[in-house]
C-alpha cells in the first residue's frame, strides 16, 4: 500500500509542478509583479489542465496517462522557454503580523488538522456506495485497464449513464496509473487531496479583495460540514463538482472587482468551471449559469474595458464545455431520465406542475439541515444583503444571477424528469444541493468586510 500511495502522491506533486509551470508560462506569476500568492491555485489548476485534455483524448482510445504526461511536459517546456531554467527571483514582502492574518492562519491550521485526520479514513474506506461503484469508479477502471475498448464500452450504456462526462473517472484513472494498479479504496486519497487544495486555491483567488480570515472561515465552514466530508468519502462526483464550481465562481467574482486586463482570474474561471462542466451533467448547467452571470454582471456595470476580457473568458469556458456536447450529439448519447426538449414545452411543464411543490420542499429541507451543513444556507442571503448595503453591484449581480440560474435550472431538471419523484428526490436531493451551497459560500468572503482596493494593492505587494 505504501508504494501505491507514494505513486499517487507523486502524480499529485506532478499536478502541482504543471500548475506552477502553467502560471509561469502564462506570466500570471512573475517576480516583478509580486504575484506569488497566485501559486495557491497551482495544484488544482495543474490538475485541471492535465485532466481535461486527457478526458477528451481518452474518447479516442488514447490512455489517459499518455495525454497527461504529454500535456504536462509541454506545459513545463513552455515555462522553461518563457522564463528559462532559473526560478524567477520572487521577492516576498516581509509578512506583517495582524490580528486578521493570525486568525486566518489559526483557522487554516484547524482545517488542516481536520483534513489530515480525515485522510486516514479516506485511505481505508472501501467502495460501498452505489453510484461510486456503478458509475464513477467503473468508468475510471475501464479507462485505466483497457483504454482502447473504453470509448465503445462507455457508449454502450453498460458502464453508467452514457452522457455523464468523464473528467472525474479520468482523474481516478490517472491515480490508478500512478499507483500501478487498480485500488478502489486507496483512490480515496485523491478525493481528500482535492479538499486540501480547495482552501489554498480559494485564498489565492480571493486574497486581493477579501480578508484572509474570512476566506479561511468560509473554507472551514464549507469543508468541515459533515455532509461534505461524508459525500467526499463515498467517491461520488457531487463534492468535487461543488469544489470546482466554488473556485470557478470565486475566480469570476474576484475578476469583476479586479483589474480587467489581468487574465489570471478569468483563466481560473474558465478552467475550474470547465472542469465542473465535465465532472457531472448538472455541472454543465452550473458552469453555463456562471458564464451567463459573468456576462450579466459585466453588461450591467457598462464598463466597456471589461467586455472583451469577459467575452474571452466566457468563450474559453464554452470551448472547454462544448466538445462534450458535440460528442454526445454525434453518438446520440442521451439519458432516459429527462428530455431537455420539455424545458421549453409549456404544456408539458403545466401538466407536471404538481412536481414543483415536493421538489422545492425537499431541496429546501436538505439545504436547511443544520446538522449536515451548518448555517451555510443562511450565510449566503446575508452576504447578498451585505453586498446590497455596501452597493457592491457587480458582485451582487454576479452572485444573484448565478444563484437564480443554478437553483432554477436544478428545479427545472427535477420538473422535466421522467423519474418518479419519490426515489429520484430522496436519492439525489442531498447531493445536487452541494454545488449551490459551496458555490454560494465561496463568494461570501468578497461581501464580508471586503478588502478595499488600496489595501489589496499592498496585500499583493
Amino acid at each position: 500500500m505504501a508504494v501505491e500511495l507514494a505513486g499517487l502522491l507523486v502524480v499529485n506533486g506532478g499536478y502541482l509542478v504543471v500548475g506552477i509551470a502553467a502560471l509561469l508560462a502564462l506570466r500570471w506569476v512573475t517576480a516583478e509583479r509580486r504575484t506569488w500568492y497566485r501559486l495557491g491555485v497551482a495544484y488544482l489548476f495543474g490538475l485541471v489542465i492535465v485532466t481535461l485534455p486527457a478526458s477528451y483524448v481518452a474518447l479516442a482510445g488514447v490512455p489517459v496517462s499518455w495525454t497527461a504526461t504529454f500535456v504536462g511536459l509541454v506545459v513545463v517546456a513552455l515555462a522553461v522557454w518563457r522564463v528559462g531554467l532559473r526560478w524567477p527571483h520572487v521577492r516576498l514582502a516581509r509578512p506583517t503580523l495582524s490580528v486578521g492574518g493570525l486568525a486566518g492562519a489559526g483557522i487554516g491550521a484547524v482545517l488542516l488538522v481536520l483534513l489530515l485526520y480525515a485522510s486516514r479514513t479516506f485511505a481505508i474506506r472501501p467502495l460501498v456506495d452505489w453510484d461510486s461503484w456503478a458509475v464513477w469508479t467503473v468508468k475510471a477502471r475501464l479507462l485505466y485497464s483497457d483504454p482502447s475498448l473504453a470509448p465503445a464500452a462507455l457508449r454502450s450504456g453498460n458502464y453508467g449513464q452514457t452522457p455523464y462526462p468523464i473528467a472525474l473517472p479520468t482523474l481516478e484513472a490517472l491515480g490508478f496509473g500512478a499507483m500501478g494498479r487498480y485500488d478502489g479504496t486507496l483512490i480515496g486519497v485523491q478525493f481528500i487531496l482535492l479538499a486540501l487544495g480547495f482552501p489554498l486555491a480559494l485564498w489565492s483567488l480571493l486574497r486581493s479583495r477579501a480578508r484572509s480570515w474570512t476566506i479561511a472561515l468560509a473554507a472551514l465552514a464549507i469543508l468541515s460540514a459533515p455532509q461534505l466530508l461524508y459525500q467526499l468519502l463515498t467517491h461520488y462526483a457531487d463534492v468535487p463538482l461543488g469544489l470546482f464550481v466554488g473556485l470557478g465562481l470565486a475566480a469570476g467574482a474576484a475578476w469583476l472587482v479586479s483589474e480587467p486586463a489581468d487574465g489570471w482570474l478569468l483563466g481560473c474561471f474558465a478552467a475550474f468551471l470547465g472542469m465542473a462542466g465535465l465532472t457531472k451533467s448538472e455541472g454543465f448547467l452550473f458552469a453555463l449559469a456562471g458564464a451567463v452571470a459573468l456576462g450579466v454582471a459585466t453588461l450591467a456595470t457598462r464598463e466597456r474595458r471589461r467586455l472583451v476580457p469577459a467575452a474571452a473568458g466566457i468563450g474559453a469556458l464554452l470551448a472547454v464545455l462544448l466538445p462534450w456536447r458535440v460528442y454526445c450529439l454525434a453518438y446520440g448519447l442521451s439519458t432516459p431520465d429527462y428530455d431537455l426538449n420539455h424545458v421549453t414545452d409549456v404544456s408539458y411543464l403545466r401538466a407536471h406542475a404538481d412536481r414543483l411543490h415536493p421538489v422545492i420542499s425537499e431541496l429546501w429541507r436538505q439545504l436547511t439541515m443544520t446538522n449536515k451543513w451548518g448555517l451555510l444556507v443562511w450565510v449566503i442571503p446575508l452576504a447578498l444583503l451585505a453586498g446590497l448595503a455596501a452597493a457592491s453591484w457587480r458582485l451582487l449581480a454576479f452572485a444573484v444571477a448565478w444563484l437564480v440560474l443554478a437553483a432554477g435550472g436544478l428545479l427545472l431538471t427535477y420538473w422535466v424528469s421522467t423519474l418518479p419523484l419519490g426515489s429520484n428526490l430522496t436519492n439525489t436531493s442531498y447531493r445536487t444541493i452541494v454545488s449551490l451551497l459551496v458555490g454560494g459560500t465561496a463568494l461570501v468572503p468578497l461581501f464580508v468586510f471586503p478588502r478595499p482596493p488600496d489595501d489589496a494593492e499592498q496585500a499583493s505587494s
Binding site: 484547524v110 485526520y117 472501501p126 475501464l142 485497464s145 443562511w378 461570501v444 468586510f449
Partner: protein, 147 residues
C-alpha cells in the same frame, strides 16, 4: 447595515465551524473504526457483501476470466429488491469486479458466458472450455465460434 450583516455572517460561519468540526471528526473516526480492520480482499468485496450478494460466485467467474474477454451473463429473472431485479444487481457488481473483462449487450458479441443459477446448455452454443462450481448451476463457458 453592511457592518451588521458582515458581523452576523462571520458569527454564522464561526458557529457552523464550531459545530461542524467535532461532528465531522466523530464521523471520520467512526468510519475509520468500521473499515480499518478490513483486509484487501474484504475491501474488494465489501460492496457486494453489503448488498448482500454471493461474492464467491463472482470470485469463481473472475478466476476463469482473462483480460480482453467479453462476457454475457446468463441469469434467470428474479425479484431482488424494490429498486432492482437480481440480474441488474449482479450485472452492476460484475461490471467493476470483473474488469478488465467487459460485458457485452448481445450474446452474439460475447466470448464467454457466465451463468448464475442457469444452464448454459440451453443457449445452444458450442463451448471450447467450461468450468463449473461444484454441482451448482454456476458456470464459466468459453464460446467456440470457430465453427
Amino acid at each position: 447595515m453592511a457592518l451588521a450583516a458582515s458581523l452576523t455572517i462571520a458569527a454564522a460561519l464561526a458557529v457552523s465551524a464550531w459545530h461542524n468540526v467535532p461532528h465531522s471528526w466523530r464521523l471520520m473516526r467512526n468510519e475509520h473504526r468500521d473499515f480499518a480492520g478490513y483486509s484487501s480482499a474484504q475491501r474488494d468485496r465489501a460492496f457486494g457483501n453489503l448488498i448482500p450478494l454471493r461474492m464467491d460466485i463472482l470470485d469463481f467467474w473472475r478466476a476463469q476470466l482473462r483480460p480482453g474477454d467479453r462476457y454475457w451473463i446468463q441469469i434467470p429473472f428474479e425479484a431482488f429488491s424494490t429498486a432492482a431485479n437480481k440480474k441488474l444487481v449482479v450485472r452492476t457488481v460484475a461490471h467493476l469486479y470483473l474488469l478488465p473483462a467487459i460485458e457485452t449487450r448481445r450474446l452474439a458479441d460475447a466470448t464467454v458466458v457466465l451463468s448464475w443459477d442457469a444452464d448454459p446448455g440451453t443457449l445452444h452454443l458450442k463451448y471450447s472450455d467450461q468450468a463449473r462450481a461444484g454441482l451448482q448451476l454456476i458456470f464459466v463457458s468459453r464460446i467456440n465460434r470457430g465453427g
